[in-house]
Assembly symmetry: C2
Homo-oligomer: 102 residues x 2
Amino acid sequence: MAVILQIHFPFPGPFGEAMVEALTPLAQGINDEPGLRWKVWTESPERHLAGGVYLFDDAESAEAYLDKHSARLADMGVEGIQAQILEVNEGLTAINHGPLGA
Amino acid sequence: MAVILQIHFPFPGPFGEAMVEALTPLAQGINDEPGLRWKVWTESPERHLAGGVYLFDDAESAEAYLDKHSARLADMGVEGIQAQILEVNEGLTAINHGPLGA
């Protein structure tokens, strides 16, 4: 069953286009993560937050990625990570055009 | 600029197929919300949580919807709503196939 991982944390920047330039290699690597269907990258330059919403094939893949990503963020000095892994209700999601494809 | 609204809260159920049956009319109504592109419905039957991830055209639409939805949930007796509205980084999202269409 598909699951959503949502995560956000305090982040000093860069944001916007400068974030794209700095983190393109990381994003390219994330495409190789087992079970990943997609990631929407999120940010708040005003509140100094960054994060993402991910769709994974199953909870095991999402949990493995969260462990890896949390360790990577800790290495970058990030503290205060807020993360949730939740199952997708596919029937209701279909009504609201939620994208569940790879 | 597109924004993500992520929200979850304690929820006694129903979950799964029974949630689809109970909340299909609500989901159909959500399609009429101004600025909404899509919603992925989320749930955790084990932890008694429900929620969703929404993509809106802009922060104003997301904030207006969050106000309306929070009031509706409060009327249902829901407490402890966790919500975040975050901007989308479109360049990084494109690399990871994040779906930003309507």
